[in-house]
C-alpha cells in the first residue's frame, strides 16, 4: 500500500504531459539557473569548463594525429623502405608516446569533469529541494487552496528531474559541442577553406532536414500528449469507479470507449515516434553524403588542381579533413536535438522559481506568549514552564510592557470574509466566547462553519471587522504563538510517517513518553494503541492507512491533548464512524474539551446540546444563536434541523 502511494506521488503532471511549453523569457530563466549554480559552485564550474576545453582539445589533437601519422611517419618510412633503406621507428614511437600523454590528459579531464559535476548537480539540487521545502512551509494556507497538490508535487519530482538532466548532461554537452564545433571549424579552415565551404553547405541542408522532421514530430507529439491525457483521464476515472461499473453492467460500453481512445493514441503516438526515429538515419546519411562530396571535391583538388594553386591539398590533408568532416556533424546534431530538452528544463525551472518567488505568509504580530508566574496578583514572566501563560504586550507609545493572562476569551466583531475579493463567504459575524465556554456551529455544508474556525488561527486574514483574543486584536499576536495556544482536531485527520508515539508528540515535541501515554489515555486512544503490533512504537505509513478513520481521529485528539492548549477547535467526525468508536471518540473529545474554550463544528446532538451557545449558520450568516432550549422554542431553522421536520414532510 505504501508503495502504491509513492508511485502515485510520481504521477502528478507527467514529464511529457502537454505540448512544448511556451516560455516568457527563456534567457532570463537560463540566467537564473546558471547564477543559482554559480552561487555555490563557481570555482567547481570553472574547473569543469577548463576540463571540457582540455578534453575537446585532446580529442581534436587525436583527430589531427591521423594526418601526422600518415603524412609525416608512414609515408616517409614507406618511401624509405621501398628505396631499400631501413626505416627509423624512433620518431614514430616518440609521437605515439606524446599522443598517449595527450589522450591520458583528455581522459583525466573527462573523468574530473564527470566527477565534479556530480557534486555540482547534486549539491545544487539539494539546495533547491531544501529551499523549495522551506519556502513552501512559509506559504499561506491560501496557496495550497489555489494550487493542485499534484502540481506542487510535480515541481519536486518532474521539474527537479528535468533540471538535473539539464545541469548534469545537457549544459556540459552543449558547451562541449560548441567548443568542438568552433575548434573543428578552425582546423578545417586551416586545412582547406574550400572544402570547409562545401561542408558548411551540407550542414545547412542537414539542419533544414532536421528542422522539417522535428516540426512534424512536434506536431504529432502535441497530439499524442493530448490523447494520452484523455486516455489517462478515462483510465483514472474508470479505475476509481470500477465497482460501480460492475454494479451497472457497464463493462462492454467501457471497453468500446476505451478502444476508441486507445486506437487514437496509438495512431498519433506511432506517427510522433516515427518522426523521431527517422531523424537519426536522415542525419547519418546526409553526413555520409557530405563525406562523399568532400571526397570527390577533395580528390579533384588533390589530383587535378595544380599543387601550386592555393586550393590544392595533399592526400594526408584530405584524409584528416574527411575525419574532421565526420566529427563536425556529430556536435551539430547533438545541439539541434538537445534544444527541446533545454526548453523543457527551462519550463520546469520556471515553475520552480515561481514557487520560490511566492509571497510568504506575513506576520506583523509582536505580542508573544510567555510562561508566567503570579506574584501578589501581578503577572511576571518566568523562564520555566509554569503551566500559566501570559501574553506579553509591548506598548510602543509609552514604552511599557503589560502581561495579560492567557484565558481563551474570543470575540468576533462584525467580521466579513471571502477567500477571494469577488466572493464573500462570511457576513458580519458577531461572536462572544468566555473562557471555558463551548460554542457550537451547525449548518449545511458551505455555510461557512469551517471558515470561521480558520479565521481564529489566522489561516486566513479577515477583510473587515475585528477578532480579539483575550482582548487583544489577533493581528497583533505573533502567528506562531497564537497557533500554539490553539488546539485543532480536524475531521480529515492527517497523520505523518513515523511511530504512533511520534505522531502524538507532534503536539508538543518535548513531551516525555509518560506524557504521551497520558494524553493517549485522555483521548481514549490508549487501548487500541496497546493492541497494535508494536504498541506506541508501531510505524505508521501512508498517512496511517492501516488505521480506521475513528482510530486516526483518536490519535489526532491525543495530539491536541498533549499540546494542552487553552482554546480548542474541533471538527467532529460525520456518521461514517461506527457507533462504538464514535462513543470512544466522543468521550475523548469531551475529556479534551473540559475546561477549555471550544469551538466545535458539530454534527452530533449530544455535543450541540451541552454547548453554551449554538450558532446556526446559513450562507455565511449567523441566522440563529442561543442555547439548545432557547433555539427549540424559537421553532426556526434549528428546530427544523433538530426534529427533521420541514413544513412539507412529517417524519414517521
Amino acid at each position: 500500500m505504501a508503495d502504491e502511494n509513492v508511485k502515485e506521488v510520481k504521477m502528478g503532471r507527467g514529464r511529457n504531459m502537454g505540448p512544448m511549453p511556451k516560455l516568457e523569457n527563456p534567457g532570463k530563466i537560463l540566467g537564473r539557473v546558471l547564477s543559482y549554480v554559480f552561487k555555490d559552485y563557481l570555482p567547481a564550474v570553472i574547473l569543469v569548463l577548463v576540463c571540457i576545453v582540455i578534453s575537446v582539445l585532446a580529442t581534436i589533437r587525436g583527430t589531427m594525429f591521423l594526418r601526422t601519422l600518415i603524412n609525416d611517419y608512414i609515408q616517409p618510412m614507406l618511401t624509405d623502405t621501398l628505396e631499400g633503406k631501413t626505416a627509423d621507428y624512433s620518431p614514430l614511437i616518440k609521437e605515439l608516446l606524446i599522443m598517449a600523454g595527450i589522450y591520458l590528459v583528455g581522459i583525466l579531464a573527462n573523468f574530473l569533469q564527470g566527477f565534479i559535476m556530480i557534486y555540482v548537480t547534486q549539491g545544487t539540487l539539494r539546495n533547491l529541494r531544501y529551499e523549495l521545502f522551506s519556502k513552501m512551509q512559509r506559504l499561506p494556507v491560501k496557496y495550497f487552496d489555489t494550487h493542485a497538490h499534484g502540481d506542487i508535487m510535480s515541481i519536486y519530482t518532474n521539474d527537479i528531474d528535468t533540471l538535473r538532466q539539464m545541469i548534469s548532461q545537457t549544459m556540459p554537452q552543449f558547451f562541449n559541442s560548441g567548443i568542438t564545433i568552433v575548434s573543428v571549424l578552425i582546423s578545417m579552415i586551416i586545412i582547406s577553406p574550400a572544402l570547409t565551404g562545401v561542408t558548411l553547405v551540407m550542414v545547412g541542408i542537414m539542419l533544414f532536414a532536421t528542422g522539417k522532421a522535428a516540426g512534424g514530430s512536434g506536431r504529432f507529439f502535441v497530439k499524442q500528449q493530448k490523447e494520452l491525457g484523455e486516455l489517462n483521464g478515462f483510465i483514472e476515472e474508470m479505475m476509481e469507479g470500477q465497482k460501480v461499473v460492475k454494479v451497472f453492467n457497464h463493462e462492454e460500453a467501457n471497453i468500446s470507449r476505451f478502444d476508441e481512445l486507445n486506437e487514437r493514441l496509438c495512431d498519433s503516438s506511432c506517427k510522433a515516434n516515427q518522426y523521431v526515429n527517422i531523424l537519426g538515419p536522415i542525419n547519418a546519411q546526409l553526413g555520409n553524403l557530405s563525406y562523399v562530396v568532400c571526397a570527390v571535391v577533395g580528390g579533384i583538388l588533390a589530383l587535378v588542381v595544380d599543387p601550386a594553386n592555393a586550393l590544392a591539398i595533399n592526400i594526408g590533408d584530405l584524409a584528416s579533413f574527411l575525419t574532421f568532416n565526420k566529427s563536425f556533424n556529430m556536435p551539430i546534431n547533438q545541439i539541434s536535438q538537445q534544444f527541446t530538452s533545454i526548453v523543457m528544463a527551462l519550463a520546469g525551472a520556471d515553475r520552480i522559481f515561481k514557487l520560490l518567488d511566492e509571497e510568504p505568509e506575513t506576520d506583523e504580530g509582536y505580542v508573544c506568549l510567555v510562561n508566567a508566574v503570579e506574584e501578589n496578583g501581578v503577572l511576571k514572566e518566568s523562564a520555566e514552564r509554569t503551566g500559566l501563560w501570559a501574553w506579553k504586550h509591548y506598548h510602543k507609545a509609552d514604552d511599557t510592557t503589560t502581561y495579560v493572562k492567557l484565558e481563551g476569551k474570543v470575540v468576533f466583531d462584525g467580521v466579513d470574509f471571502g477567500y477571494t475579493d469577488e466572493k464573500q463567504v462570511l457576513y458580519d459575524i458577531q461572536l462572544f466566547a468566555k473562557p471555558g465556554q463551548k460554542i457550537a456551529f451547525v449548518g449545511s455544508t458551505g455555510a461557512g462553519k469551517t471558515t470561521i474556525t480558520n479565521l481564529i488561527n489566522r489561516f486566513y486574514d479577515i477583510q473587515d471587522g475585528k477578532i480579539r483574543y483575550d482582548d487583544i486584536n489577533i493581528n497583533k499576536i505573533k502567528k506562531d504563538d497564537l497557533r500554539h495556544s490553539l488546539g485543532m482536531v480536524l475531521q480529515e485527520t492527517q497523520l505523518f510517517t513515523g511511530t504512533v508515539r511520534d505522531n502524538i508528540r507532534y503536539g508538543r515535541l518535548d513531551a516525555t513518553d509518560e506524557e504521551v501515554e497520558a494524553a493517549a489515555k485522555l483521548a481514549n486512544a490508549d487501548s487500541f494503541i496497546k493492541h497494535l503490533p508494536k504498541g506506541y512504537d508501531t510505524e505508521l505509513t501512508g498517512g496511517g492507512a492501516s488505521l480506521s478513520q475513528g482510530q486516526r481521529q483518536l490519535l489526532s485528539i491525543a495530539r491536541a491533548a498533549i499540546a494542552d492548549p487553552p482554546v480548542l477547535i474541533l471538527d467532529e467526525a460525520t456518521s461514517s464512524i461506527d457507533t462504538r468508536t464514535e462513543k470512544l471518540v466522543q468521550e475523548g473529545m469531551d475529556a479534551l474539551m473540559n475546561g477549555r474554550t471550544t469551538f466545535v463544528i458539530a454534527h452530533r446532538l449530544s455535543t450541540v446540546r451541552n454547548s453554551n451557545c449554538i450558532m446556526v449558520l446559513e450562507q455565511g450568516r449567523i441566522v440563529e444563536r442561543g442555547t439548545h432550549d432557547e433555539l427549540l422554542q424559537q421553532k426556526g431553522r434549528y428546530y427544523q434541523l433538530y426534529t427533521g421536520n420541514t413544513s412539507e414532510v412529517m417524519t414517521a
Binding site: M1, E4, K7, V9, K10, M11, F65, L66, I70, Q75, A87, L96, M99, A100, G106, I107, N110, F111, F115, Q122, Y130, F133, M136, Q137, F144, H149, T157, N232, G233, E236, M239, E240, K243, K246, V247, F248, I255, N262, C270, N273, P281, Q285, L289, G299, L303, I315, T445, N457, L490, G542, G543, S548, S576, D578, T579, L641, T643, G644, T651, A652
Partner: protein, 592 residues
C-alpha cells in the same frame, strides 16, 4: 528473480504483439541492412583514398563516390523503414497490452478489484505500459543492430588484418567485463537511492496535504529541519551512487584511445615492413574507423541491458493484472428470469481471504426476507453489513452456504441479469464526467428524459437539479467534485432506481443527506415502488426504525432480526444505539 519466471513473463507479454508481428520482424531486418551499409561505406571511403586519391585515379573516385551515394540512399531507406516499423510495432504492442489489461480488469470481480489499489491499476495502465513500449522499441531497433554492427565491423576488421584486429577482441572482452561489473554495482546502489528518493517525496507530499496540521501546531521549523537532514542524505546517497558509474565514460575513452594507439603502431609497422603490400594506408584508416563502431556498439548493448532490466519491474506489474483470474464466472445455463424479490440466506459464511485463512467475516447467517419488504440493517464498522448485502447481487461469492433471490441461487443467474434486478447503491459511490442525464442513464441506457426525471424526483434529486443552470444537462466533473456529498448520494440513488429493480440496496447511501430529505426519499419508496424489496444500511437509527424489519449485525453474526419495537425490547445493541441517538436526528449535516 529466477530466470524461468522472467521467461514466462516475457512469453506472456509477447503474446500481445499479435497483429504487429510483421513490423516487429521487419524492424530488425531493416536495421541489419542499415548496419550493412554502415559497414560498407567506410570500406568505400578507404577505397577512395587508397585506390583513387593515392593512385591519382580520378575516375575511380567518381565511380566509388557514386556507389557510396547509392549505398547511402539504400542506408537511408532501410533506416527510414526501420524507424517507421519500429514505431508501429512498439506503439501497437503498447496498445494491445493496454487493451489486454483493460479488458481483463473489466472481467474482475470485487475481490479481484480489492486485490489492487486504484492508483496501482492506473500506474500499470499508463506508466508501466509506456516503459514497456520504450524498452520494446529500443530492443527492436538496437538488440540486433548493436551486436550485428559489432560482429560485422569486427569481421571487416579481421578481413583487413586478422593480426591487428586481435587488439579489438581483447578490448571488447576487457570493456564488457568492466561494464558488467560496474552496471551490477551501480544498479544496486541506484535501487537503494531511488527507494530513499521516493520516501523523501512521500514526506513532501504528506506535508503538502497536511499543511494545515503543520501550521496549526507551528511545526514549520521542525519539518524544515527534518527536510534538511533528508536532503543531505539524498545528496550523499546520489553522490555515492553516481561516483560508481562516473568512471564508465572515461574507461570507454581509454579503451578507444588505447586501441587507436596500438593499431596505429602495429599498422604503421606492418605497412612499412611489408612495403605497403600487406596493409595500405587506406586500410589503416578503415581499421581505425571500425574502432568506434565496435566499442560504441558495446556501450549501446550495455545501455539496452540497463533499460530492459529496468522495465522488468513494469513487465512484472503488468503480468500481475493479466494473471489475475476473475473468480466470479457465468454459470453454464444462466437463468434470466426472476420470480420476485424475496431473499434467503442459508448458513452463509464468507471470508475475504481466498485461501480461507483468518476468521470469516460472516458466520452462519440465516435470513429470510419476503418480496417487497423494507429491511433496515444496523451494526458497527466491521460488523460486515456491506459484505452481507454485496452477496445478494453476487459482487462476492459466498464461502459457504447459499444466497437465493426469488427462490433461485444467485450463482445460477446470468450475472448481468442478476445485477440489473438487484440494484446496489454502493457506500463508496462514484459519478462520472458527463451530463447529469448521462450519469442517470448508467442505470438504463435507453431511458427517456421523463423516466430520468421521475427517478430523480423519487430520490429527491430533482429539486436541486432544477436549480442548476443547465438542469439535467449540467456537466458533472470527474468524480462528481462539483456537487455536494448529499447531492451526489441522491444522484446515485436515482441512477440505481432507473434499473426498476426487484431488489434495491442502499449501503449507507444517505449519510450526507439531511434527515428530512432522507425521510422524504423513504416515503417515496413506500409509495412508488412498494413491490421492490428494499435493504437499507445506515448508521442513523432514524433512517431504519420505520422499516418493516431490522437486522442487527454484530461481528459477522445476526444479533437480532425484528421490528423496531421488538428489538427495543429484546436487543441490547439496538437499544444502546437507539438511546445514544435518541430524540429525532443525530446529525446536522447538509441541508438542501
Amino acid at each position: 528473480m529466477p530466470k524461468e519466471r522472467v521467461n514466462d513473463m516475457l512469453k506472456k507479454l509477447a503474446a500481445y504483439i499479435k497483429e504487429y508481428k510483421a513490423p516487429s520482424i521487419a524492424t530488425p531486418i531493416c536495421m541489419i541492412f542499415e548496419v550493412l551499409f554502415e559497414i560498407l561505406i567506410p570500406m568505400l571511403m578507404a577505397s577512395i583514398v587508397d585506390d583513387g586519391i593515392s593512385k591519382g585515379d580520378l575516375p575511380h573516385i567518381y565511380k566509388t563516390g557514386a556507389l557510396m551515394v547509392v549505398l547511402a540512399v539504400c542506408g537511408l531507406i532501410s533506416g527510414l523503414l526501420g524507424g517507421v516499423f519500429a514505431a508501429k510495432a512498439a506503439t501497437g504492442f503498447a496498445k494491445n497490452l493496454r487493451k489486454g489489461m483493460f479488458d481483463r480488469i473489466q472481467t474482475f470481480s470485487f475481490s479481484n478489484i480489492d486485490h489492487f489499489s486504484t492508483a496501482g491499476l492506473v500506474t500499470r495502465l499508463t506508466t508501466d505500459v509506456t516503459n514497456i513500449q520504450n524498452a520494446y522499441q529500443m530492443m527492436l531497433r538496437m538488440c540486433f543492430r548493436a551486436p550485428f554492427s559489432m560482429i560485422l565491423a569486427m569481421a571487416a576488421a579481421f578481413t583487413i588484418s586478422a593480426k591487428i584486429s586481435l587488439v579489438y577482441l581483447v578490448a571488447v572482452l576487457a570493456l564488457s567485463t568492466f561494464l558488467i561489473f560496474i552496471m551490477r554495482r551501480g544498479m544496486k546502489y541506484f535501487t537503494q537511492v531511488f527507494k530513499k528518493y521516493d520516501e523523501m517525496n512521500a514526506t513532501v507530499q504528506e506535508n503538502v496535504k497536511g499543511m494545515r496540521v503543520v501550521k496549526a501546531y507551528v511545526r514549520e521549523d521542525y519539518e524544515i529541519s527534518r527536510m534538511k537532514t533528508a536532503c543531505e542524505n539524498i545528496y550523499r546517497l546520489f553522490v555515492k551512487a553516481e561516483k560508481n558509474i562516473v568512471i564508465n565514460f572515461p574507461v570507454m575513452m581509454f579503451t578507444v584511445d588505447a586501441c587507436i594507439l596500438l593499431i596505429s603502431w602495429l599498422g604503421a609497422k606492418m605497412i612499412v615492413n611489408s612495403g605497403g603490400t600487406l596493409l595500405e594506408t587506406g586500410d589503416l584508416m578503415s581499421l581505425l574507423a571500425y574502432c568506434m563502431n565496435i566499442l560504441m556498439s558495446l556501450m549501446m548493448m550495455s545501455m539496452i541491458f540497463v533499460m530492459v532490466s529496468m522495465s522488468i519491474a513494469s513487465a512484472e506489474r503488468i503480468c500481475e493484472v493479466l494473471d489475475e483470474e476473475p473468480d466470479i464466472r457465468q454459470p453454464e445455463k444462466p437463468v434470466t428470469s426472476m420470480r420476485d424479490g424475496s431473499i434467503e440466506f442459508k448458513n452463509v459464511f464468507f471470508n475475504y481471504n481466498r485461501d480461507g485463512s483468518g476468521e470469516p467475516v460472516l458466520k452462519d447467517v440465516n435470513l429470510s426476507i419476503k418480496s417487497g419488504e423494507t429491511i433496515g440493517i444496523l451494526g458497527g464498522t466491521g460488523s460486515s453489513k456491506s459484505t452481507l448485502v454485496s452477496l445478494i447481487s453476487r459482487l462476492y461469492d459466498v464461502t459457504g452456504g447459499s444466497v437465493k433471490v426469488g427462490g433461485v441461487d444467485v450463482k445460477d443467474y446470468d450475472i448481468s441479469f442478476l445485477r440489473d434486478q438487484v440494484s446496489v447503491v454502493l457506500q463508496k459511490n462514484v459519478l462520472f464526467s458527463g451530463s447529469i442525464l448521462d450519469n442517470l442513464r448508467w442505470g438504463k441506457p435507453d431511458a427517456t428524459e421523463e423516466e430520468c426525471i421521475n427517478a430523480a424526483k423519487m430520490a429527491c434529486a430533482d429539486e436541486f437539479i432544477e436549480k442548476m443552470p443547465e438542469r439535467y444537462e449540467t456537466r458533472i466533473d470527474q468524480g462528481g467534485s462539483n456537487v455536494s456529498g448529499g447531492q451526489k448520494q441522491r444522484l446515485c440513488i436515482a441512477r440505481a432506481l432507473l434499473k426498476s429493480p426487484k431488489v434495491l440496496i442502499l449501503d449507507d447511501s444517505t449519510s450526507a443527506v439531511d434527515t428530512a430529505t432522507d425521510a422524504k426519499i423513504r416515503k417515496a419508496f413506500r409509495e412508488v415502488i412498494p413491490g421492490t424489496t428494499k435493504l437499507i444500511i445506515s448508521q442513523r437509527v432514524s433512517s431504519i426504525m420505520d422499516a418493516d424489519r431490522i437486522i442487527v449485525l454484530d461481528d459477522g453474526k445476526v444479533d437480532g432480526f425484528g421490528t423496531h419495537e421488538e428489538l427495543l425490547g429484546s436487543n441490547d445493541i439496538y437499544r444502546d444505539v437507539y438511546e445514544t441517538q435518541t430524540g429525532g436526528s443525530g446529525d446536522f449535516d447538509e441541508v438542501g
